[in-house]
């Protein structure tokens, strides 16, 4: 008799929880970051699913039910972005139909969205800086907010109130507030679909991989505010400011994870790691600028009963000895190009490891090549548990037959006896 959805849900969650707790599950769990793979797999363009929530649903659901990963991803937060980005006239991405061909994935537009001399403003009152300086740069539709005065000076009847609200009657500000209202409606739409999707997945027996997102403070500073080049140069020119800013951002990053958790009830927090990898800074710089606040973030989450799940992009082999310093059996480290044999040697018995069938093989190789990789990973990294199968990064352009081979090989070869 087929197992009930409830039973499948429990089994799948147990399988992953066992891996994170460094135990041996019944078999190696498998989950992937689907990226825009579901769109192509279902015959839609990237643009179609970015703009049409129903097509997004169809695409994700078809992919989920056919491949049956142990855990799913809610596709709405990261991919159904067309309408809200359009509404805001968002500048940090180019996306299909908006600077990109209809079938290309969206891409980040590097920039110094915060100038080097704005650290002090950022540190003094981050929200003020973001609302009046950062948002107008990042969102064309919010340009008018530049006209606002600092709201922290509107305090009471003779301090601020008499003239303080004047700017809100300026046409540019009214326009920006109108854009905010429309963005609010789009946010509600994304939230609505996301909620419905989570409920449906749960009812059909699929837990979700993550329930919240956060980032290493250095990445947040570098990705969105100072830019890759900006933050790299800051390590030489204004190292103290970089450290201060990271410490300043840390509580925001904890808050972001906790508030996601409160809504989803799902303890796994996705933390994509962008700028701490090998080559992007020296080991000394990693120890000084990157790791301290990331570690604090992860410890804070673990202390609240959550499971930090960083995806260490690129190659982080030289960082393994450092990032090992984390409580046992609470986190899950996914790796993209890190040497997995080394990772198992260093992290085995301490942190669950996830990954990393090369995306190049999934895109350009054959099912046989994929099987070879999967079996090698299971034999070496999967030995004695504490391991989750995944590709090296989001699937996007992977060939369906190769993805199928990855799932099949894991189910066949990944059973623990």
């Amino acid at each position: 008799m087929a197992e009930s959805s409830e039973e499948l849900y429990r089994q799948r969650e147990q399988r992953v929880n066992d891996a994170i707790a460094l135990k041996k599950p019944d078999r190696v769990p498998i989950m992937v970051l689907f990226g825009f793979f579901p769109a192509r797999y279902s015959g839609f363009t990237v643009r179609e699913v970015m703009y049409d929530p129903e097509k997004m649903w169809q695409a994700q659901w078809k992919t989920l039910t056919e491949f049956q990963p142990d855990m799913d991803q809610n596709p709405y937060f990261l991919r159904y972005l067309g309408p809200i980005l359009e509404t805001l006239d968002f500048k940090q991405l180019i996306w299909p139909g908006h600077g990109m061909k209809a079938d290309h994935t969206y891409q980040f537009v590097e920039g110094e969205y915060m100038a080097a001399d704005e650290y002090d403003h950022f540190l003094l009152d981050t929200t003020d800086f973001m609302m009046r300086r950062y948002w107008p740069r990042v969102c064309g539709g919010l340009k008018g907010l530049e006209k606002l005065p600092p709201l922290h000076n509107i305090i009471s009847y003779y301090m601020g109130i008499p003239t303080g609200f004047g700017a809100f009657s300026l046409p540019e500000v009214i326009e920006a507030v109108d854009v905010l209202k429309k963005a609010g409606q789009e946010s509600a739409r994304i939230g609505g679909y996301a909620r419905k999707y989570s409920e449906k997945a749960r009812a059909e027996g699929f837990p979700l991989q993550v329930g919240a997102i956060s980032q290493a403070p250095y990445d947040t500073l570098g990705d969105f505010f100072r830019g890759t080049k900006g933050v790299m140069l800051d390590m030489y020119r204004r190292p103290d400011k970089v450290i201060k800013a990271c410490e300043h951002i840390l509580p925001f990053m904890i808050e972001m994870a906790m508030s996601g958790y409160k809504v989803s009830g799902n303890p796994r927090v996705f933390i994509p790691i962008h700028k701490g990898l090998d080559g992007f800074m020296s080991l000394e710089q990693f120890k000084k600028f990157f790791w301290p606040t990331l570690r604090e973030l992860m410890i804070a989450l673990i202390n609240q009963g959550l499971n930090p799940c960083p995806l260490w992009e690129g190659d982080c082999t030289s960082r393994l000895e450092i990032i090992k310093d984390i409580p046992e059996g609470k986190a899950c480290y996914a790796f993209e190009a890190t040497n997995m044999i080394k990772a198992k040697e260093v992290l085995g018995g301490r942190v669950c490891i996830r990954g990393n069938v090369p995306l190049s093989v999934l895109v350009a190789g054959t099912p046989e090549d994929v099987r070879t990789h999967v079996e090698a990973l299971i034999d070496v990294v999967g030995k004695d548990g504490g391991y989750i199968m995944d590709s090296s990064t989001g699937l996007d352009d992977a060939k369906p037959e190769n993805v199928k081979a990855m799932f099949e090989a894991t189910r066949e070869h990944g059973v623990y006896r």
């Binding site: 180019i94 990109m100 061909k101 290309h104 994935t105 891409q107 537009v109 590097e110 890759t228 080049k229 790299m232 140069l233 390590m235 030489y236 020119r237 080559g279 992007f280 800074m281 020296s282 710089q285 090369p358 995306l359 190049s360 093989v361 895109v363 350009a364 190789g365 090549d369 090296s392 990064t393 996007d396 352009d397 992977a398």
Partner: protein, 209 residues
């Protein structure tokens, strides 16, 4: 004894380097000599990158110092003395991909290794590669890409180079993000470089510098 320009700059001492350059200019030093020193420093930086003593932020910082020195010295130059270049390389991030960090590092390393590099930028259309290869006549073409969508763009670029009858005139290397030998076969490039140092080695091998 005080540290010389080459030493200060290759140690990435920005303020000290610029102070020394200003001092030299005030004393009437030959601006070409200053630029020669700066080039020697950049070569050292490149060597330290090759030996994994320096990383991407160090290259960026060195590039910044070089830019600042050039700004100070350029107005004084009657005629810029071109450095001896050992061979031509065209490089660019292929169509549809806007990532430039990896490409810029390769450009930097080729440049400090003495190659004459034409950087076509990001999201470079297939036709642009073909036109520029005809004009610039490089021996080596470097195709960069971070995303998997770049695989097809690279493939199309190689095919277009072939169609234009230029395939046997250039060696093509690819690199970036997910690129490995599997992708090299798919794209039909001559080689892939796993990092900037590998890219320079390929160019040296092909050009014979």
């Amino acid at each position: 004894m005080a540290k010389g320009l080459v030493e200060l700059m290759s140690d990435l001492m920005e303020e000290e380097t610029l102070a020394l350059v200003k001092e030299k200019i005030a004393q009437g030093a030959d601006p070409n000599q200053i630029l020669d020193d700066a080039r020697s420093a950049m070569e050292l930086v490149g060597k330290r990158f090759e030996s994994c003593e320096y990383f991407i932020p160090d290259l960026m910082m060195a590039g910044e110092i070089l830019r600042e020195i050039s700004e100070l010295v350029k107005p004084l130059l009657v005629k810029e003395k071109g450095a001896q270049k050992s061979g031509k390389v065209i490089i660019g991030t292929v169509a549809g991909d806007i990532h430039d960090i990896g490409k810029d590092i390769v450009t930097f390393m080729l440049d400090v290794s003495g190659f004459d590099v034409l950087d076509l930028g990001i999201d470079v259309p297939v036709e642009t590669f073909v036109t520029k290869i005809k004009e610039f006549q490089p021996k080596v073409v470097g195709l960069s890409g971070f995303l998997t969508l770049a695989f097809d763009s690279m493939k199309q670029t190689v095919e277009a180079i072939e169609k234009a009858g230029l395939r046997d005139k250039v060696k093509i290397m690819i690199g970036g993000g997910q690129i490995d030998d599997e992708v090299r076969k798919y794209v039909k490039a001559d080689a892939y470089g796993k990092d900037a140092v590998a890219g320079v080695q390929l160019a040296k091998k092909w050009i014979g510098a």
